[in-house]
């Protein structure tokens, strides 16, 4: 089956990408490196779940992918605001 080979290859590639991102998240010399690494990890996790649900022909993982996408976006915004201003919530 061609689709099985393709999805297996994609899963392996995404896993290698996740490993590189984890390396940058742990080693990363500065805070922006870690921020970009964690954002890329959440995006790669969404891609992993979508490919997994194509491989097993199920829709169960789609909701989990959507939840991870929303939470990843939210955490990236919060960490960026912390990086810019020093505080997450503005006081006015």
């Amino acid at each position: 089956m061609l689709i099985n080979v393709v999805t297996n290859f994609a899963l392996v590639v995404i896993t290698i990408c996740l490993g590189f991102c984890l390396y940058r998240l742990i080693i990363g010399p500065s805070f922006p490196d870690r921020l970009v690494a964690s954002d890329t990890i959440s995006t790669n996790t969404v891609a992993f779940l979508i490919v997994l649900s194509i491989k097993y022909t199920t829709q169960v993982f789609f909701d989990a992918a959507l939840v991870i996408a929303i939470l990843g976006f939210l955490s990236t915004v919060a960490m960026s605001k912390f990086l810019i201003g020093g505080s997450v919530f503005d006081r006015d």
């Binding site: 909701d63 939840v67 929303i70 939210l74 915004v77 810019i84 997450v88 503005d90 006015d92």
Partner: protein, 139 residues
């Protein structure tokens, strides 16, 4: 210091309704599919936190004047009542009734009283999460 970001405000205004509808979908299918009150409450609080981040807590409190601490007893009372009513009818605690109903547009759907229990869990999760985040944000 108040740093306004035009891109963040526009995106959070657009995304608000998408996440709210997704959380409603998770809440309503929770009794027989992945989902439920807990994750739906977390998604709803994610929208509120996004509005907090984009517009600031003070503006947000003027737009949405809800005391989130009041949601915790309301949700606990809803869940407890849903579990307690079968006890009065001589059935075990937390027995769920279900059946089929025909609605005008949606057609035939299956209803279950487990949705009411999920609704209580939803209120508790939204109340607890927003109380914690407001307390942290006002430090």
């Amino acid at each position: 210091m108040r740093s306004r970001s035009f891109i963040l405000e526009t995106v959070s205004r657009l995304v608000l309704f998408v996440i709210l509808i997704f959380s409603l979908y998770l809440l309503l299918r929770g009794h027989n599919a992945p989902g439920g009150g807990f994750i739906a409450g977390l998604m709803t609080s994610a929208t509120f936190v996004l509005q907090f981040l984009a517009f600031g807590p003070t503006n947000q409190r003027n737009i949405l004047p809800i005391n989130f601490r009041l949601l915790i007893p309301v949700g606990l009372l809803t869940s407890f009542t849903t579990g307690f009513v079968p006890l009065l009818l001589g059935k075990p605690f937390l027995t769920s009734a279900f059946g089929h109903a025909t609605l005008p547009i949606l057609g035939e759907i299956e209803w279950a009283t487990a949705v009411l229990f999920d609704l209580g869990v939803y209120f508790v999760v939204v109340g607890v999460t927003m109380s914690i985040i407001s307390a942290i944000g006002e430090e």
